[in-house]
Assembly symmetry: C2
Homo-oligomer: 334 residues x 2
DNA sequence: CTGAAAGCGCTAACAA
DNA sequence: TTGTTAGCGCTTTCAG
């Protein structure tokens, strides 16, 4: 590795001269600057990151903790975080909690030693179910900037980026009601999560505030996705009065559609289906799935910008941003 | 931030005593060790990473450069890399080249300053099309360990993890031939890539070495995926003799299936379809897609282990590992 | 205009 | 058993 020392020796000047020259310090003569830069270029000199970090007490790195990278929503948020961070000269260290509290806690601990300038996190399922907040509070106490997105813990005093889960589910359900649907089922494999609860509440309240709706809310929720497929099938097979489905997670809308088609239901004539999903390959079913777009790009963008603002300007208050969703009509609704 | 210095002051001992005590150095008395550790725990002391890096000249961090995180294959490899790296005490800095040569090169440059101990990369499309190797050769010259996976550049002297692309396509095509298929189309949106070329070659050679196959190879390849959907549709609509499709990228198999169904083709009776895809939600079509499993978990696992072996044991040779694929029969083949 | 020296936080050889 | 010192690579104040 080529260091300032080496350049200095070779040029018969001091280390500090080289350092200043490379930083265009006007204490240094233009000739010296030129000479130094030429040699630095020749040797492909790059200032050592560790030394820089030690000196400046920052790393230009953000720790990102994602529950599940195989979920397209999170993949897209990560994509956006990386893009925006990179644009602003920051690197990201990615940790995948895989929904485990333990992994999440350990990642937080491991990186809160000066490895990163702050954390952007979507909380693991285990953490949310048990409502664990200690590991995050430790981070907050250490004054390390923290942004939670999508799945957040209200009890933790930090920046937050969410979507308007409740309103989205309320409005989506209302749309189905306005279609004239009489028996609307909610499908969820995220009922333990903050977002799942809010969306479920929105669905229930929409049904209850609709004058002519007669049925009770029907909620099919499951963690294990293998059984879930089967359960969806059985539900649709047994109860032929079901005429609409709102699937509040990222995949079960597609599953429901395939099951409905297998049962020879006419979609959307007999049955409307709305999923939560981004504009990815998933909705490219036949017919194409109507979905709620969660705007993961905007979520990542805002998370990074809040973070960098906090890091660089020490803004004291903890902003909470809510991103509005959008119902994208395709072919599984009337 | 709490440092050794602070602990030392508080305990009226020297910094080195504290350091040694925390590292269980047997020069230090058990009482002192106990005292030091107690205070360290109380203050939640964590050794500063930057200082450690500077001292030890390693970072316990691997730079990972992925072309496209929205591609499920790469997401799963990343998942695997993170899991294995984490298990071995390494962090990963993730960069997304988004298929851009420029971004890839800049990421490489930015991180090759002691930010990481090595790189795991799948080459960007632009880089492969232009066969750019300089930026990687610079890394190699600087003796920074480098593993390429899936999309590799043969000209670069580094470790490699690939799948047996040629054989896979050959065998898959042969399977379709053995089904009795007479007109087999290859679909690809990756024809510019090393892997795409190898797979295409496997397909062509399989057709040519099959005695009774009469038709020429038919290859539909496209970068722009919007048009691609339309083109697939037209191809299937126009040429009704087509009775099998091998889709060598991650998504077009699903697209082809949906288009075929829309055209009222019986799958697999009239038309067999095989895609390249992992065991994710994509094959959960109706009927379920038969796919070539690329074992992304094994790819990530091997990449990390090669990398860490190189970092920690300075193994001189550059291994190349080939992971075998597997044809997973579902419902779109006979 | 250039250089010497201190210090970021840590480890480790050497002294006491 | 503990402390002193040097040094990892860099920046920056202060002297020259």
């Amino acid at each position: 590795m080529v260091t300032l020392k080496k350049l200095a020796k070779e040029l018969n000047v001091s280390v500090s001269t080289v350092s200043k020259a490379l930083n265009d310090n006007d204490e240094i003569s233009t000739e010296t600057i030129a000479k130094v830069k030429a040699l630095a270029k020749l040797y492909n000199y790059k200032p050592n990151r560790a030394a820089l970090n030690l000196k400046s007490r920052n790393t230009k790195t953000i720790g990102v903790i994602i529950p599940n990278i195989l979920n397209h929503f999170f993949a897209k948020v990560l994509f956006s975080i990386e893009k925006e961070a990179s644009k602003q000269g920051y690197n990201i260290i990615t940790c995948l909690s895989n929904e485990s509290y333990d992994k999440e806690m350990k990642s937080l601990e491991l990186l809160s030693n000066g490895s990163v300038d702050g954390f952007i996190v979507s909380v693991a399922e285990e953490t949310q179910v048990a409502n664990q907040t200690n590991h995050f509070n430790t981070i907050v106490e250490e004054k390390i900037p923290l942004v939670m997105f999508d799945r957040v813990l209200n009890e933790v005093e930090c920046m937050k980026v969410v979507i308007n889960d409740y309103e989205t589910a309320f409005n989506t359900t209302t749309h189905l009601l306005n279609e004239g649907r009489k028996k609307i089922v909610l499908l969820s494999n995220i009922s333990e999560l903050s977002v799942g609860k809010l969306r479920t509440k929105g669905y229930v309240n929409a049904l209850q505030s609709f004058p002519n709706y007669k049925n009770q809310p029907i909620i099919l929720s499951q963690i294990n996705s293998n059984d879930f497929e089967q359960e969806i099938h059985e539900l649709l097979a047994k109860d032929t009065e079901i005429d609409a489905i709102i699937a509040i997670d990222n995949t079960s809308g597609v599953t429901a559609l395939h099951k409905a088609l297998k049962l020879n239901k006419q979609v959307p004539k007999d049955l409307s289906i709305i999923g939560f999903s981004d504009n990815n390959v998933l909705p490219f079913t036949n017919p194409k799935l109507t979905t709620v777009a969660q705007h993961p790009i905007a979520i990542g963008f805002n998370a990074v910008n809040m973070m960098i603002d906090k890091i660089e300007n020490q803004t004291p208050e903890n902003k909470k941003i809510s991103i509005s969703t959008e119902l994208i009509f395709r072919e599984t609704t009337l």
